[in-house]
């Protein structure tokens, strides 16, 4: 029987496509839930418009699929090998979560900045540069925190998947150690 740690992984993998799509869909569902529970869903979503909303969602989806694939490639996490290095996986999640936050913010900021410059003139560029750098740093921090939270959720769901398959070989670092001790 094949050693699960030696299985080659194609990129993008089913894991990265599924996890990237999962992250984007979950973030939007949580956002809609928060808006609904605060009573602001109707006003805010009605004001965004169908086409701009669809473009923003597709951008987040594509961004999430790409950065999730990069984070999984960097950490070596696969359904077969499990989580070889939990700290390394969380570091990769924080780094690529930060990238997601900055790139998502940058696209929205570019549109808003363009509209502001068109309305207020080039004098607004100085203010926009300072505000943009500060906001980008904030977006990176928020993205890193969200990335780590989603990575922890992914690891929990990977454990659930391992339980579903009924085969715990190489499921994660802890299970790997237990298996080695048993075999020794």
């Amino acid at each position: 029987m094949a050693d699960p740690r030696e299985v080659a992984v194609e990129r993008p993998s089913l894991f990265s496509w599924a996890a990237g799509s999962f992250h984007a869909a979950l973030l939007v569902a949580v956002l809609v839930a928060v808006l609904h529970l605060s009573g602001a869903a109707g006003d805010l979503l009605g004001g965004v418009g169908t086409l701009p909303g669809a473009v923003v969602y597709c951008y987040l989806w594509a961004l999430s699929a790409w950065t999730t694939d990069r984070a999984l490639a960097a950490s070596g996490v696969t359904p077969a090998a499990g989580v070889p290095d939990r700290r390394g996986a969380l570091r990769a999640a924080a780094a690529w979560g930060g990238v997601t936050g900055v790139l998502f913010f940058a696209a929205l900021f570019a549109v808003a900045a363009g509209l502001l410059v068109a309305a207020a003139g080039v004098e607004a560029i100085g203010f926009l540069l300072v505000a943009g750098v500060i906001a980008a740093m904030l977006a990176a921090a928020v993205g890193a925190v969200v990335g780590v939270a989603l990575a922890l959720l992914d690891v929990a769901l990977l454990r659930a998947a391992v339980a579903l398959t009924g085969d715990r070989r190489g499921a994660d670092a802890d299970v790997g150690r237990a298996t080695d001790a048993d075999s020794g």
Partner: protein, 154 residues
């Protein structure tokens, strides 16, 4: 604008049809596949291996369809924006339950997708677990469709 909203609803319903129909298809294929020993290596019996191959193809499609269903679901909500009722109403409570159910579908489905990927990567036979996973998915999706019906017409 009316044509755009119609398109959004069409994609939403079509996406849900892919999710539910695909899960039911894999479940049905699992039930029709021949029995055999679970310790037999994968890829030795094509008829027995077909449900897992179909499941893997479905999982790629599933996450694309889920993305479209969530996108168009939010679009639907925006289209009916002035009529969206608050969380204190019966409609609002049903909608909150549906959002929680969608979260459950997303999380449970990622676990199912990872299980399918693990079965294929390790060449381990899933046995009856594969059919059970897709039966549960199909049943869960029927509940979500019922909630959507309540929201649209209730």
């Amino acid at each position: 604008m009316a044509a755009l909203h119609l398109l959004v609803r069409l994609v939403h319903v079509a996406g849900m049809a892919v999710l539910l129909g695909g899960a039911a298809l894999v479940w049905g294929q699992c039930r029709l596949a021949p029995d055999g020993p679970d310790d037999e290596p994968l890829a030795t019996d094509r008829a027995r291996d077909e449900p897992l191959a179909t499941a893997a193809a479905y999982e790629w499609l599933f996450w694309g369809a889920v993305g479209l269903v969530v996108l168009t679901g939010v679009g639907n909500l925006g289209a009916m924006a002035p009529a969206v009722r608050g969380p204190g109403t019966g409609w609002g409570l049903t909608f909150a339950v549906k959002l929680a159910a969608v979260g459950g579908l997303l999380a449970g489905s990622l676990a199912r997708t990872l299980a399918v990927a693990r079965w294929r990567a390790t060449a381990i036979r899933p046995g009856t677990r594969l059919g059970t996973a897709y039966a549960a998915t199909a049943g869960y999706l029927v509940v979500l469709v019922a909630l959507a019906e309540v929201l649209a017409h209730g």
